[in-house]
């Protein structure tokens, strides 16, 4: 009887571990497949010109997506510039002072905001910035992307700060350290790794967003670094190229996809490196 029981348990165990391993393998395979596909299809489109030149008209060979690379950096960078301070501040508030109804409300709103479809965020930015100003702009795109980043940063910051043991806060307070200073110099550094990773993930997620940019940043075949003008971005360029009927453009779409994936990957690696340095030095 007991022997039977034991055998049955061993079989269940093997089955469960097997199922979990299979799932993990499938997930890894899907990831590798996407990356490999983009790499194989995209690498042939890559050359120096692709990074350094402007797009050429249909039928004219050569050219690149330099304006979209710079445009994406501008739009995403501005979005982060707006969303990171506000998100950090909100996360700090929720974790350190937000045990009240206002805190609950903010938390709820952040969750709702996280669930708003990205195209709605684009329409929102369109109405309050583009429609008023009368023209598309990089800034309006940044605003839409920033709004998308905000809830992720708010909630990860809060979660990470809450993981910092209370004994550290009390340890600092007991030394006669003012509360704000305890948060800035003790609690926040202790959570920095997780917070930075959260920010990098949020940036990675919005860097590939297309819908919010359709009627905000709009796209632009020319050089533009003026944030008040429409600007090309990698996802929009990719979209335009991908749906075109021309082989050359479709191949460039793959190249653009590869550059986009590469940039997100680099951003993530930098984030991890920063985390490790922060962690090692401390």
């Amino acid at each position: 009887m007991t022997m039977n029981h034991y055998r049955w348990r061993k079989i269940t165990n093997v089955l469960m571990v097997g199922t979990a391993t299979l799932s993990a393998t499938l997930a890894a395979l899907a990831l590798i497949a996407v990356l490999a596909f983009v790499l194989v299809k995209g690498v042939s489109a890559l050359n120096a010109d692709f990074f350094l030149r402007l797009p050429t008209p249909v039928g004219v060979p050569g050219g690149g997506v330099a304006n979209a690379i710079v445009g994406s950096l501008i739009v995403v960078g501005l979005a982060a510039l707006f969303a990171v301070p506000v998100g950090l501040g909100t996360g700090i508030y929720l974790s350190e002072f937000g045990d009240n109804r206002f805190g609950d409300l903010v938390r709820y709103l952040a969750d709702v905001l996280a669930g708003v479809p990205s195209i709605v965020m684009g329409i929102f930015a369109y109405i309050i910035i583009v429609a008023r100003q009368g023209h598309f702009s990089a800034l309006s795109g940044s605003f839409a992307l920033g709004m998308m980043m905000l809830p992720a940063i708010v909630r990860t910051t809060e979660e990470m700060l809450r993981m910092v043991p209370n004994t550290l806060r009390e340890g600092a307070l007991a030394l006669g350290v003012p509360r704000w200073r305890a948060i800035v110099s003790v609690v926040l550094p202790a959570a920095a790794g997780g917070v930075i990773t959260g920010i990098m993930l949020a940036i990675g997620r919005i860097a590939g967003e297309t819908a919010p940019l359709l009627f905000t940043a709009f796209g632009n075949p020319y050089w533009n670094t003026n944030v008040n003008e429409p600007v090309a971005t990698l996802p929009l360029t990719l979209f335009t190229y991908a749906i075109s009927p021309y082989d050359d453009w479709q191949s460039k779409a793959w190249g653009t996809a590869l550059v986009l994936v590469g940039l997100v990957l680099i951003a993530n690696l930098i984030g991890r490196r920063v985390w490790r340095n922060v962690g090692a030095q401390k």
């Binding site: 004994t167 030394l175 006669g176 920095a192 401390k282």
Partner: protein, 262 residues
């Protein structure tokens, strides 16, 4: 000299404190003499921690916490409206149950954290203060070659002495110790007890402990707390440690220290 010492005496008058509708300690009155070690003993839940956490007003940082009565440090009411709790805590240091060095700071940075995080920039003379505080905490010899490693990489006993050094660096008049040895092994415990005796020459020490042998070993005075009918802690007896342990005047104290309950 006597006056200088008196500024480190703590007079607790009818202190009642709790959280929300719960009363943790009720009507405690006692005088903690300066430059002595006073142990607070009692069973779990008798309000020992709440009592000492009122002495540096850390109690009020907890949500829903409240306190009534009066606590005088050197004759001055520390609950008075014009007393800044942040300033108060620089005079009344605290060491916690679990060593809590700041994980993102080195050993040296931990020691002077209280000094550096109290003002802008970097005050002068910090290096001297680091060595002095670590020497007072009997930790200097062990860490002088690794001042720049993380405080969290030390052993448990060393971490606790680092926390003591950190508290001492602010030059407090009083040091509160909330079960400082309960997470430590016997050797580390012994070292901390030795250290406490030395420190008591300069400062007043209040130690909460579960361990009656520890109270008997290190303290000059002992306060025994027990919960009353509605689970609020009350002071049963206070007096010189010798007398409390050899000739308690209250039956409950005798039962507790002879291990009949708790």
């Amino acid at each position: 000299m006597r006056d200088a010492n008196e500024s480190r005496a703590i007079q607790i008058e009818e202190l009642t404190a709790g959280f929300g509708s719960f009363t943790a300690v009720r009507q405690v009155s006692l005088r903690i003499p300066p430059n002595k070690i006073t142990a607070i003993i009692g069973p779990s839940g008798s309000g020992k921690s709440t009592l000492v956490r009122c002495l540096n007003r850390l109690h009020e940082e907890v949500r829903g916490a409240w306190m009534q009565g009066r606590v005088r440090l050197g004759g001055h009411d520390i609950f008075a409206t014009d007393v800044d709790p942040v300033q108060l805590r620089r005079r009344v240091g605290m060491v916690f149950q679990r060593p809590n060095p700041f994980p993102t700071m080195s050993v040296a940075e931990n020691v002077v954290a209280g000094l550096r995080l109290n003002r802008w920039g970097r005050p002068a003379g910090l290096d001297d203060r680091i060595e002095e505080s670590l020497r007072r905490a009997a930790l200097w010899e062990q860490v002088k070659d690794k001042l720049h490693v993380s405080g969290a990489s030390l052993s448990g006993g060393q971490q606790q002495r680092l926390c003591i050094a950190r508290a001492l660096a602010v030059e407090p008049d009083v040091l509160l110790m909330d079960e400082p040895c309960s997470a430590l092994d016997p050797v580390a415990t012994f070292k901390i007890e030795e250290l406490m005796k030395e420190l008591a020459e300069d400062i007043t020490i209040v130690i909460v402990t579960h361990n009656m042998q520890q109270a008997a070993r290190v303290s000059d005075y002992t306060a025994f707390l027990m919960m009353g009918e509605d689970r609020a802690g009350e002071l049963v007896e206070f007096g010189p440690t010798d007398r409390i342990f050899t000739n308690p005047s209250d039956k409950r104290t005798e039962d507790y220290i002879t291990g009949r309950f708790g």
